[in-house]
């Protein structure tokens, strides 16, 4: 494998469908042996970027390279080097596990045996059911089969478009463990997800929204460089609390976040004074504490900066 080039290189890619801008000047680089996450909600343009990179779509503007090869000029070569798992369930439900595997192997001119080592850690988990039709598998098993099929030709770059959507938390966590194993074997992985909590499982992430990249960094660094003080606050009546907080001037933003509401301090913020005012307003079981932001807080801050 050529280690001098990047696994993926995206330069100023734009793509529109009619008047809808799916991607606007997107640039990013994925290093070899890296798990790079595209994190963003539906409509962020993740799937469009994937389709451009796996040579299914042509960009309107900009260029991109996968494994050092141009996705337009060398698209045939690119196709044999990538493994692609589209967002939709992309297996044949009426074929068995075994038949799906064999079919995808022949598609790339290899046999299952040839590259068994690479897929074995994943495939072994579903192999006992190999005579079962793919349509009758559980979500987690389908996902493992789809990943095995995408790996069977030993690609150098793996593209996984929302592989964990609709899958429960346990299967999702197992799936990320599998990706880390694959990275150990030298694969470069571009993965997209709408679940912000999965960001921490990536080496680097791009936060995207509405066809644009808001920021690219490692998840840790992204959280560290969050400027501003974040507090968690809770009370007995969470909705009334939220309404009271919205009246405060020294709070830049506050929003629901589960057990605690999160609030971003503005200039002149005084936690004690606010707590006192809230008690005066009749809020019970009040608790306020400084907290460490997570990726969602970062995302919300980037989004609201953009909107202003």
């Amino acid at each position: 494998m050529d280690t001098s080039t990047l696994a993926i290189e995206v330069n100023g890619i734009s793509k529109s469908y009619g008047t809808v801008k799916a991607l606007e000047h997107v640039s990013l680089e994925v290093q070899r042996g890296e798990i790079f996450g595209l994190i963003g909600p539906d409509g962020a343009g993740k799937t469009t970027l994937f389709k451009i990179l796996v040579t299914l779509l042509n960009a309107d503007e900009g260029n991109a390279k996968v494994d050092g090869l141009d996705v337009v000029a060398d698209y045939r070569k690119v196709r044999s080097r990538v493994g692609y798992m589209p967002g939709k369930f992309s297996l044949y439900p009426d074929l068995t596990i075994e038949e799906n595997m064999e079919f995808f192997a022949t598609l790339f001119g290899v046999t299952v045996e040839q590259n068994y080592d690479l897929v074995a850690p994943i495939y072994k988990q579903i192999e006992p059911f190999k005579k079962r039709r793919a349509g009758r598998l559980s979500g987690g098993m389908k996902q493992k089969l789809a990943l095995s099929c995408a790996l069977i030709h030993k690609p150098s770059v793996l593209f996984l478009d929302e592989p964990t959507t609709g899958v429960d938390a346990v299967s999702r966590s197992e799936f990320w463990d599998m990706l880390h194993n694959l990275r150990e074997q030298g694969l470069s992985i571009l993965v997209s997800t709408p679940y912000m909590d999965e960001a921490s499982r990536c080496d680097r992430i791009a936060l995207c929204n509405n066809g644009r990249v808001l920021d690219i960094d490692s998840p840790q660094h992204m959280v560290e460089k969050f400027d501003g003080k974040l507090y968690g606050i809770k009370a007995h009546d969470m909705y009334a609390l939220l309404k009271s907080l919205r009246e405060e001037n020294s709070i830049a933003n506050c929003y629901t976040a589960g057990e605690y509401h999160h609030l971003l301090a503005d200039s002149g913020f005084d936690a004690q004074a606010i707590e006192q005012r809230l008690v005066d307003l009749g809020h019970e079981e009040l608790e306020i504490k400084p907290i460490v932001p997570d990726i969602e807080d970062v995302f919300i801050k980037l989004l609201s900066n953009e909107q202003h």
């Binding site: 963003g40 909600p41 539906d42 409509g43 962020a44 598998l137 559980s138 979500g139 987690g140 098993m141 959507t165 609709g166 899958v167 429960d168 938390a169 346990v170 299967s171 966590s173 709408p194 679940y195 912000m196 909590d197 929204n209 009546d237 969470m238 909705y239 009334a240 939220l242 929003y255 629901t256 976040a257 589960g258 057990e259 969602e296 995302f299 919300i300 989004l303 609201s304």
Partner: protein, 248 residues
């Protein structure tokens, strides 16, 4: 216990498909005005249980009431007195916001003058009033979800069932959505919600965790974290679902 305290009260509710027991003797109550999280791994039987509670499917055995109606005998009445919103089926893309509201309000028997007033008020509250004549298909996903929730509560049901309502929406919209849920709950509507986002479990007053057709845990998020010695609901979920036998 009287029916007035609990909006849902089920005992040994069971659903079998042939030899497969999808829901296995579940017993629980949901208080009025509560935000109740109904969680479980894929294939744990959540959807089947929810279908029985919504009057869409007959239980094989067991008994219970939803909004004061019998889940075995009064499925039709239950359907009329609950709100339901799922990620999959929500609104008609080729109808405008207002037309969707009028359609669903009409289905639930809201009188037309009242319906217009309520729909207009809701659109004002959501700040969608300018877009009342926009086709739903051309709206961003987050808007659709909020509108779908408004539609599900248009007939002022006592309880709303939300089946994974926030899949795929951005964090800001997701939070706005939860604000709507909080608001509805503060006005006395009971919320029954399923989700795959474990952090959303923290929004709920109480949570039940289904594993292999049975309810394995039911408590407040704080108590659950304490008793499983876990830092987050995600961890609680993983501990509980670890020895699940079946997938979907």
């Amino acid at each position: 216990m009287s029916n007035t305290d609990f909006i849902i009260q089920v005992k040994d509710l069971t659903k079998q498909f042939g030899t497969f027991t999808a829901v296995d003797h579940i017993t629980f109550e949901v208080e009025r005005g509560e935000i109740f999280g109904f969680l479980g791994a894929n294939g744990a039987g959540k959807t089947t249980a929810m279908r029985m509670l919504c009057g869409l499917s007959y239980p094989t055995s067991g008994s219970g009431t939803v909004a004061g109606f019998d889940v075995v005998k009064e499925g039709e009445k239950i359907k009329r007195h609950i709100g339901y919103m799922s990620q999959r089926f929500s609104l008609y893309d080729d109808l405008t916001m207002m037309e969707n509201m009028e359609l669903f309000g009409g289905i639930y028997g809201v009188k037309s003058r009242e319906l217009k007033e309520r729909a207009t008020a809701l659109l004002h509250k959501l700040e969608f009033i300018e877009e009342r004549d926009t086709m739903v298909g051309s709206l961003p996903l987050g808007w659709k979800q909020k509108l779908a929730f408004a539609v599900a509560t248009l007939h002022r049901p006592e309880i709303v069932f939300l089946d994974e309502p926030t899949g795929g929406v951005d964090p800001i919209t997701r939070r706005q959505f939860w604000e709507m849920i909080y608001q509805a709950a503060s006005e006395g509507t009971t919320i029954f919600v399923t989700t795959h986002y474990m952090d959303e479990a923290e929004y709920c007053n109480r949570i039940s965790m289904m594993v292999d057709g049975k309810i394995k845990a039911l408590d407040t998020p704080a108590n659950l974290k304490k008793s499983f010695n876990a830092a987050s609901m995600d961890q609680v979920f993983r501990i509980l679902a670890r020895d699940a036998q079946r997938g979907d």
